[in-house]
Symmetry: C2
Subunit: 383 residues, 2 copies
């Protein structure tokens, strides 16, 4: 089935909205954070742990799966769900972000992107059609249109040309799209220019998609600019379709995104920082390698209901992390994913109660203290 977005309530003071998405694998409330399973595995978690952290949709990366093990093998296995044994809806990206960031192509033409595999240098060619065909075979629940990911900053003219191409690519992708149980999203681009974001959003709606993504917002600009880019996009998107802010997972960015009307988020941040010994907490990120946790026999967060917090102390997790024991990265990955998912659960409550701005102020006070979070760079959330 095509996904269906149900708008349940608008928050009184902001663009934040409570809703739900009906999918092939059940109905899930939004706002929602999606764990990332880059190469058909959410790093550090087993499928039953993906359930345990109360995941909704999860994400997988078309570029990585195209290269290894290949979409044909996954198709033979019965599709991505059966291959990795998950009963959650799966969203695949288009491969575009990885091609532009990992393979750094020199040859971008109207037809597509020629580049070398980041693994072995093999020459590859990814086109809007090919991206969709791969995703059709992977048999995810939601596919993304292939878009051009441009550098930041870029001139108005450069961005305008790129937006036009991305719209043409979206149309070409839709034309070859051929999987009745899969939905297809268009991706709003346009850099920091409101008229280009508006133009992109409107042109994509003319083509018509099952949902809309917002791209190009976490590429090195400061948070204030990023939030503007999001707002310039959501403003021009229809209220009856889901809105997905791609590659964003810093807690405050999720809050600011929700305030601007975003429904779903994904990011590798929670599992990546976990593998470096970091945990999200209400009072900011902590690194468990820090000696001050050596004899800290309390959980990462007292109020957290995750497996790590209910069963282990910081001292034990620190022991595991300093010795590079697998269980350390696992426990931190579980906690960090649950932290972001709990955050979206909280945000859903604030929408019901029309108090998301108060929640945000309180969150910032606890998480950042006096620090100026708006000046922070947004780069490096993507993967």
């Amino acid at each position: 089935m095509k996904i269906k977005y149900n708008l349940k309530k608008n928050e009184k003071n902001t663009m934040a909205r409570l809703g739900s998405i009906e999918t092939n694998y059940g109905e899930y409330e939004t706002p929602m954070f999606m764990p990332v399973g880059t190469r058909a595995t959410v790093k550090g978690l087993s499928p039953n742990e993906i359930d345990d952290v109360k995941s909704g949709i999860i994400l997988a990366n078309t570029y990585h799966l195209w290269l290894r093990p290949g979409e044909d093998l996954i198709s033979e296995a019965g599709g991505l769900h059966k291959f990795m044994n998950v009963n959650h809806p799966i969203l695949t990206d288009s491969g575009g972000f990885q091609v532009f960031s990992l393979a750094r192509p020199k040859d971008i033409s109207e037809e597509g992107v020629k580049f070398k595999s980041h693994i072995d240098g093999t020459k590859l060619f990814l086109t809007p059609e090919k991206s969709i065909q791969i995703q059709n075979k992977l048999d995810s629940d939601i596919a993304m249109s292939f878009d051009e990911c441009i550098p930041y900053p870029a001139s108005y003219e450069y961005v305008k040309n790129s937006v036009d191409r991305t719209i043409r690519w979206a149309k070409r992708g839709k034309d070859v799209f051929n999987n009745p149980r899969q939905s297809l999203f268009g991706i709003v681009q346009g850099g920091e220019f409101e008229d280009l974001r508006k133009y992109s959003a409107e042109e994509l709606q003319k083509i018509g998609f099952d949902g809309y993504s917002i791209g190009g917002t976490s590429v090195g600009e400061n948070k204030e600019t990023m939030y503007k880019m999001v707002e310039y996009s959501t403003k021009y998107l229809p209220s009856d379709k889901v809105r997905y802010l791609m590659g964003v997972g810093d807690p405050i960015d999720i809050i600011e995104g929700v305030i601007r009307g975003v429904d779903i988020f994904d990011c590798v941040l929670p599992t990546r920082i976990a593998r470096h010994g970091n945990a999200f907490t209400k009072y900011g990120k902590i690194n468990l390698k820090n000696a001050k946790f050596k004899r800290d026999f309390t959980p990462l967060e007292n109020e957290c209901d995750c497996y790590a917090c209910k069963n282990f102390t910081k001292a034990y997790i620190r022991h595991l992390v300093t010795l590079d024991e697998m269980l350390g990265a696992r426990l931190l990955s579980i906690h960090n994913l649950r932290f972001l998912i709990r955050l979206t659960e909280d945000l859903r409550e604030t929408i019901k109660n029309d108090n998301i701005l108060e929640y945000k102020d309180e969150f910032i006070k606890n998480y950042y203290g006096d620090k100026d979070y708006l000046s922070k760079e947004t780069k490096g959330q993507g993967d």
Copy 2:
């Protein structure tokens, strides 16, 4: 409480015996295989997965925990069970094996062993008393006496002197032992010499221990010699105390050990080979990196009830293993531990049915085919 061994039945045709051990954490049937949690974590498994594979006693390494995080920290945490959050009985080794194999000491005297830490070269001194004091603090359920691990082969005189010293060390350890909820085992040494194994076993019984370990059997001799060493030990051990063959986990060695009257085993083999992509199967070890598994959409073993076999295909595990994804090593670790634990469950049945020798013949036929398994070296099972 001190552990209590209950002998339930002797197999008719061999020395194999069915029994149970009553511990601080419940009663468990023997023969039993113990997963190894070297540094207070069974590599690749969380505590709930330790339950899932139906573990009984698990093992932790005194040497590693002494160095990091230190026995005082673990004691402050409330002991090893609370630190690592397991509800299984825990057996700690003496640290001897690691000192002799990892730190390669040059200064072994009557008093103890002087050596350098394998981590940072710090000068350390481990004595029989110190080993027991560390284990008392770790608060495991079963502690081991500190023994000398000698090279193989060694002369009769060398072994005799070492056995005498190990007996004196066992006595010194028992004298300082001070933990009422912990049991203490003596370790039978004596190389390949039956009279020395007999002498060692008898002298240790005069001192009196809660159970008896068999050491020095997996150090490079061939399997036939190893099995003799085991038999030369169990023959002279009392029937009302549990017998533990240290560091042995090759499936056929477990079968041959049980046939010779061994009750419990431990080995890092199942988790270590898992991290290199290997799985135990009824038809021998397989390496998932092998290209022939690329499109094998069947489980590791059809008849296995573990989480890996019930949920994933060889093709998926191969995908994970070739990309070095954490979940690959986890799934193989779970399977390999469950494989050995299932083996001991089978062996308990064969003791009830008095057909362990038939089971062994069938196992060898499947597992080795025509290969001559008796000539294989036993080295490298320890850790």
